[in-house]
């Protein structure tokens, strides 16, 4: 299941930052650093995660969206 979540998360990130390909995204590197994303992108990512998985990432938990791996773990444990 985790693998499916990861694939979806990567797809959502590429949708937000189409300059990148899923295979180029490091699972453990900070998303802001490697994709040059900002709070608007993080907001959109949280919205899309909610729409896709039904998981609400409140603002107090936004730190869980800093890397792909942390994001996947958060989704998996809150579904």
């Amino acid at each position: 299941m985790t693998e499916a979540i990861q694939t979806t998360v990567l797809d959502l990130l590429v949708e937000l930052a189409p300059e990148f390909e899923a295979g180029d995204i490091d699972l453990d590197e900070d998303l802001r650093d490697q994709l040059d994303i900002d709070s608007m992108d993080i907001h959109q990512l949280a919205t899309r995660l909610y729409e896709t998985f039904g998981v609400d990432v409140p603002e107090s938990d936004r730190a869980e969206l800093t890397t792909v791996r942390r994001c996947v773990a958060y989704i998996a444990s809150n579904r």
């Binding site: 994709l35 608007m40 907001h43 959109q44 603002e59």
Partner: protein, 392 residues
């Protein structure tokens, strides 16, 4: 008969490349319709027509580099108020493009025109973006969508075959840097800037925002930038002298409040398209408009009006950890507001020292248009607005 000319899409734009026609002779157009895509130093811009009528003639071929003011098309104007959207409607951004094919109206007969000039190529917005980015002429692409429409997936194969080279990213960035350099050099050369700044306690505004966001689902949540922009608009209503243009040696005030919103592009570059009628929109509407604008800015899908309508620009550097920014005015505007990073500071509240969230706000003003007294009134009005976010 009206002329549709190469527009000036920036303070120092002199030329543009007519990238693509979205209409053909015989097509009816309404005020506000997007009829062409123009390549500028700041990327591809969708250009609207501002009179209703019927396209008589396309005077310039796709791919032609033309000076600002060149007649691109002739339009036989018609009285068609029903088809003209209201000002409010034209100012409302369209939703983000869907990755589906579009079906144009049936083509009017134009037997004298060549086949490719007669008909608009059916293509999805994403396919148009990809084609522009990769230098692919849509007329030569075999579409796999309904009625042969070109979809995004069709473009890479065509790009591999095409003789048009993919635009060099380095060249694109260099062109954008030149455009920014030109505008900013003109600003510093011509505009006698004055600078003011003050620290504002935004603890209450952020607490209000956190409470509000906790009570609604993610799609309805707001970013702090929405509150900042609404507060700037509220301050402009109280001190309107900062909202307008310096033209013909005079200050021309603007009644509408269209805020230029500085957007950094991934990989480098900066654009400041306009968010229209910020004071008229609810915070939720503004959040949606801002999301749409940023998304399109980064995908090279801005519209002409968005490049030219800003009446005051707001630049925020807080995301990058910068506590203070003193901006450079984008001519012919007469002011720019700078927002810094929110930091926790010791602050005196009711005679006691407390830890508060504080943001530095600045104003760079055009001294020809107003003076420091006016700027000070504006910053005070901005601080007042930020202290009562529920009223925005």
């Amino acid at each position: 008969m009206g002329d549709f000319v190469m527009p000036s899409l920036g303070a120092d734009m002199e030329r543009g490349i007519l990238n693509e026609w979205l209409v053909k002779p015989g097509d009816a157009v309404a005020k506000g319709d997007i009829i062409a895509v123009v390549e500028t130093d700041k990327g591809a811009i969708e250009v609207e027509v501002w009179s209703a009528g019927v396209i008589e003639e396309l005077c310039v071929d796709e791919g032609t580099d033309t000076p600002v003011g060149t007649v691109l098309a002739r339009i036989r104007e018609t009285e068609n108020p029903a088809s003209e959207p209201s000002a409010a409607a034209t100012a409302t951004p369209s939703p983000p493009p869907e990755p589906v094919a579009t079906t144009p109206a049936p083509p009017a007969p134009a037997p004298s025109a060549p086949a490719e000039a007669r008909g608009r190529v059916m293509a999805s917005p994403w396919a148009r973006h990809l084609a522009a980015e990769r230098g692919v002429a849509l007329t030569g692409v075999t579409g796999s969508g309904p009625l042969g429409a070109v979809l995004g997936r069709d473009v890479p194969a065509a790009a591999a075959k095409t003789a048009h080279p993919k635009p060099d990213k380095v060249d694109q960035l260099a062109a954008m840097r030149r455009a920014v350099a030109k505008a900013m050099a003109r600003s510093k050369r011509e505009i006698p800037h004055y600078y003011l700044g003050t620290d504002v306690d935004v603890t209450g505004a952020l607490a209000w925002l956190a409470r509000r966001n906790a009570s609604v689902p993610p799609p309805e949540r707001l970013l702090p930038a929405v509150i900042w922009l609404k507060a700037v608009a509220a301050a402009i209503r109280k001190v309107p002298q900062v909202n307008g243009f310096w033209q013909d040696d005079a200050l021309r005030l603007s009644e509408p409040i269209h805020l230029g919103f500085a957007v950094s592009l991934r990989g480098g570059g900066l654009v400041a398209p306009a968010l229209h009628d910020v004071d008229q929109r609810t915070p939720v509407e503004l959040m949606r408009a801002m999301t749409d604008l940023v998304t399109r800015a980064r995908r090279g899908r801005l519209r002409g009006a968005e490049m030219t309508d800003a009446t005051l620009t707001v630049t925020s550097m807080g995301e990058r950890g910068v506590e203070r920014v003193d901006g450079v005015i984008y001519p012919p505007q007469v002011a720019i507001v700078g927002l810094g990073k929110v930091v926790e500071r010791p602050w005196v509240v009711d005679g006691e020292v407390a830890v508060r969230k504080v943001m530095h706000v600045s104003l760079a003003g055009d001294h020809r248009a107003h003076d420091g007294h006016t700027g000070g009134l504006f910053l005070n009005a901005l601080a007042d607005a930020l202290s009562a976010p529920e009223a925005l």
